[in-house]
């Protein structure tokens, strides 16, 4: 029986721990065993079994004394390797952070730790969270636990690919990810799990390796909507160390999934279609609307006219910020240093060898769009576009409470399929980027399988700081979809 403990949801495991059916140590051991068995997925960059068992025991001790901390106490989770973790190697999946062991803990991972969660290890990801397939990692690609019809290895999506794969393969009960343009929601869709990107400012960015500061946001990847609510509760909250963190107390998210959708106004934005999008995604989207309607919601057609500019604007803003954020990786103070004949040589050697191709591409794009003579044509214009995108959403939310869209324009693709076509790769985020640009919360809920038996997700987008409505609607979708998809890996 113990072997199946890792198949429990967070809510189920919480009950079991509370009832004394099993201990956190047993639960953790089950996860560690699954991690061993599934090492070929390459979901983790660093596994921390000793630390995990220590924390699990500490949790059991607390519980025995009647001092359990709450719903996350004793729950084994994985943490994306973008979060700095005290005393544990933190790489951002980049060669340039070789050997970097932080002396500090990111606010989000500290919040999880302080809620009693047990960290199993640091999950693989796209290098510096730049990618949509988890193939840009210096530590090699993550394999999706799902297999293609022809037996091909599939990409788990990205950049939180390791976190999504680990949840899907039942290596952990939940995982912390980050989402800049879709890095939680798209891999969640590809791997058939729930992925929630909260409102920008809901979770602190302190101690999380920065990709694009105005977009980066931490969030949970879990197997159920309720689990996402429980895990978000532990991660969120105001942090004075992050000036962009919202000075708001997080509401009780765990109540939201059960609130129902009676009378909820659900908007269907007509612009969320791209050329060549599979008919089955369009069908699933319609089905999703139908499910919500049957649950008591009202379906309303809306327009977000500037949606088509979101992706190009995103690929100006995010690289621009990244080009400055990644300047600190210079070989001077930590991480990799490749010596050279002069300071400039050392910079070029270190950054040339330390950063992978996709990171170098984005740093160059970012430097270019900010450079003298191009700033107005690119960066300034992209920022104006961003304002227009946000206004589109504001207008739409005058008549609806939540928006329903597909999460991604396709199901998971094969490893290697899109690596030499960056534009095709970037298009993966076409439906997730607009909400990111507007700072709005979004969630991907697994809603069905395509013809090849691969999971497809539907995305819900809500108003800023209205994660509760998002969770209520997501729960209705989850209930109606009855997604039972099981990856091939277990």
């Amino acid at each position: 029986m113990t072997s199946a403990l890792n198949h429990l949801t967070i809510a189920e495991a919480g009950e079991g721990l509370a009832k004394g059916d099993f201990t956190s140590e047993e639960l953790t051991a089950a996860c560690l065993k699954a991690m061993d068995a599934q090492r070929q997925l390459n979901a983790f960059i660093t596994e921390t079994p000793e630390l995990a068992l220590k924390r699990a025991k500490a949790s059991d001790t607390r519980r025995a004394k009647g001092q359990a901390l709450g719903a996350m106490d004793g729950i084994p989770v994985a943490v994306k390797d973008l979060f700095c973790t005290e005393g544990v190697l933190t790489t951002a999946a980049s060669h340039i952070l070789d050997g970097f062991v932080p002396t500090y803990e990111s606010t989000v991972s500290a919040n999880l730790r302080d809620a009693g969660a047990v960290m199993l290890g640091k999950t693989n990801m796209d290098e510096f969270a730049m990618g949509s397939s988890n193939e840009t990692s210096y530590y090699g690609p993550v394999l999706s636990p799902w297999k293609g019809k022809d037996g091909k290895d599939l990409a788990p999506g990205g950049s939180s690919g390791g976190s999504a794969a680990a949840v899907a393969a039942r290596l952990c009960l939940g995982a912390a990810g980050t989402d800049t343009g879709g890095s939680i929601r798209q891999p969640a869709s590809f791997c058939g799990v729930v992925g929630l990107k909260p409102t920008y400012g809901r979770c602190s960015r302190w101690g999380t390796v920065a990709f694009a500061s105005s977009l980066d946001q931490a969030g949970p990847l879990t197997r159920t909507v309720l689990d996402a609510a429980i895990m978000l509760q532990a991660m969120a909250g105001h942090d004075p160390k992050d000036s962009t963190s919202a000075p708001l107390d997080a509401p009780d998210f765990s109540k939201a999934p059960g609130a129902g959708v009676k009378g909820l106004r659900v908007g269907i934005p007509k612009e969320y279609r791209v050329d060549g999008m599979a008919g089955e995604i369009e069908d699933l989207w319609k089905k999703g609307a139908q499910w919500l309607k049957q649950a008591g919601a009202e379906i309303i057609g809306v327009s977000l006219p500037h949606s088509k500019y979101a992706l190009p604007a995103y690929y100006i803003v995010a690289p621009a910020e990244a080009s400055a954020n990644l300047a600190r990786y210079d070989g001077v103070r930590y991480g990799l240093r490749v010596e050279g004949d002069s300071l400039d040589d050392m910079y070029m050697n270190t950054r040339g060898q330390g950063f992978g191709k996709e990171v170098r591409r984005r740093v160059l794009i970012g430097a270019y769009v900010l450079s003298a003579g191009f700033y107005d044509a690119y960066y300034a214009k992209a920022q104006k576009t961003r304002t227009l995108i946000a206004r589109d959403f504001e207008r739409a939310f005058e008549s609806v409470d939540v928006l329903l869209t597909p999460t991604a324009p396709s199901a998971a693709f094969a490893i290697g399929e899109k690596m030499d076509d960056p534009i095709a790769m970037y298009l993966n985020d076409v439906f997730t980027v607009p909400a990111s640009m507007a700072g709005l919360p979004g969630i991907s809920v697994p809603a069905g399988l395509n013809g090849d038996g691969l999971p497809l997700g539907l995305q819900l987008i809500a108003k800023a700081f209205d994660e509760e409505t998002l969770l209520s609607a997501a729960q209705a979708l989850e209930t109606a979809a009855g997604f039972e998809g099981k990856a091939d890996a277990f």
Binding site: V209, S213, D242, S243, A324, L326, V332, Y334, A372
Partner: protein
């Protein structure tokens, strides 16, 4: 004050603008809690933020904002209620983030002015273009090792105000007067200690020349590394002459950054054109725009100290000082305070202000200069100088004796009363004692008495000298004079 450079093709005038970097007086850095003490051991005042560790975020130090607003008000400048921080991107080993957080697009302070006073009583107004807040970089130490450069990050992240003047100055003297006045204002405000030797105030000078009568501005060169007022004048003189030579030999001045070399008194190009920086400024996404309220600014304004210009006016009207004396006294806040302590003291009655000004500017400053001491290190506290003045006005000692007592006070730090007592310097004002001395001299020098009687008035001076000698200089000279005339006439 006209400063012209005679060239072969006619007279040239010099146009000068200054960018002064003033370190903000604050216990903590601009965006971190690290200390800012000068002269601490290398790398002992460095936080995770200052070292730009991954995931670290800036949080603005409100005290630094208040100091900048205070300075803006002191410069009679417009306070911008909305300002914002930008990133200035460049790579250097002592710039851990790879960018400096500054304010390019929206500075916190707009246009203002500084009034310069000259010895001849003339004044001149120099325009302030703007003041913005930015971070200082660390320090590269090139002289610790023959092959390597060491980096000290103590200064990294310290708050600076960059105060940019309009190109309103026309001579090295005006530039010197501007920096002197600016320094005085900052020190009065307590927003910068003005220690140029410690680098807490540094100036970059923009210099261009033009033919007398021209109204447009020619190409300017920016001269950096000027760390004293004397060097500032030298640098301008040299740079202006260099530019005149360039034009007169048929060349063109190029816009460039030049470095002042104190050992040669010359300027030389700092970096080749191919290394010209493109700073790729863009709004810092880690920091929300800075919004101030009218009330906040009004509160700071209300608590602004009296500044040099106002103090000077008051010294003239309240104490009847000459404009020159008042100007000299207010140039340093501590001098003005010292003077007022002397002038206002004396048990609340106040003292002869002109006499006090005279003693402070002539005797005290002279003596301090000779000992190379600052006024705060003066062995003679204001209280003691006041007592000395009381001894003079109370006719306890003569002016000549007072000088002797003052010398002793400078040497020993003792109070004047004690010195007078010890040395028996008390003035003789007893009529009978002086008469006795006079009688004795007259009796012994009948020849000289005869001379006086026959109309040689000059001989009276000889008699005074003799009486003073006989009383060891202690007799009140005025009384000696009067009594002598009476006796000799009788």
């Amino acid at each position: 004050m006209t400063y012209l450079i005679e060239g072969e093709t006619g007279d040239w005038e010099v146009v000068i603008g200054l960018e002064v970097h003033a370190q903000i007086v604050s216990k903590a850095k601009l965006f971190s809690g690290s200390a800012t003490d000068f002269g601490a051991e290398p790398n002992t005042q460095v936080s995770l933020v200052d070292a730009a560790m991954p995931g670290m975020l800036p949080v603005v130090n409100e005290h630094c904002i208040e100091q900048a607003v205070r300075t803006g008000l002191g410069l009679k400048a417009k306070i911008n209620l909305n300002s914002a921080f930008d990133r200035k991107n460049y790579f250097y080993a002592d710039l851990p983030q790879g960018y400096q957080i500054s304010q390019l697009y929206h500075p916190i302070v707009g246009e203002g002015k500084v009034t310069l006073d000259f010895k001849d009583g003339q004044t001149r107004e120099i325009g302030i273009e703007r003041l913005h807040i930015e971070q200082d970089a660390g320090k590269s130490l090139h002289d610790q090792d023959p092959k390597r450069t060491f980096v000290d990050l103590n200064r990294s992240g310290v708050g600076l105000m960059e105060i940019v003047s309009k190109p309103d100055m026309r001579s090295p003297e005006e530039a010197a007067a501007y920096v002197t006045k600016l320094r005085a204002i900052l020190r009065y405000l307590g927003t910068c200690d003005g220690e140029m030797s410690e680098g807490s105030m540094r100036a970059d000078v923009n210099v261009s020349v033009r033919k007398v009568g021209e109204t447009g501005l020619r190409t300017r060169a920016e001269v950096k590394n000027v760390n004293s007022i004397r060097f500032l004048q030298q640098a301008i003189e040299h740079e202006a002459e260099r530019q005149v030579e360039v034009y007169e030999s048929g060349g063109q001045v190029v816009q460039e950054t030049r470095l002042f070399d104190a050992s040669t008194g010359e300027t030389r190009p700092m970096r080749a054109k191919e290394h010209a920086h493109d700073y790729r400024y863009f709004p810092d996404p880690d920091l929300p725009p800075l919004e101030l309220t009218e009330e906040y600014v009004a509160e700071i304004k209300k608590n602004l100290p009296e500044l040099p210009d106002e103090k000077k006016k008051r010294f003239i009207s309240e104490y009847g000082l000459s404009a020159y004396d008042a100007g000299v006294l207010v140039a340093e806040k501590e001098n003005a305070e010292y003077f007022e302590a002397v002038a206002k003291g004396g048990g609340g009655k106040g003292r002869d202000a002109k006499l006090a000004a005279n003693w402070v500017t002539a005797n005290l400053f002279g003596a301090l200069n000779a000992k190379d001491l600052s006024i705060t290190e003066s062995p003679v506290p204001a209280e003691n100088l006041g007592s000395l003045i009381d001894l003079i006005t109370g006719e306890t000692i003569s002016g000549r004796m007072a000088k002797e007592v003052f010398e002793e006070m400078m040497e020993t730090g003792k109070a004047p009363g004690a010195i007078v007592e010890e040395k028996g310097l008390k003035q003789i004002t007893d009529v009978s004692a002086i008469e006795a001395a006079i009688d004795e001299i007259i009796a012994g020098n009948l020849g000289q008495v005869e001379q006086f009687k026959s109309g040689n008035e000059k001989v009276i001076g000889w008699f005074v000298g003799q009486v003073m000698k006989a009383t060891q200089g202690k007799a009140n000279p005025q009384m000696v004079n009067e009594l002598l005339r009476k006796k000799l006439a009788g």
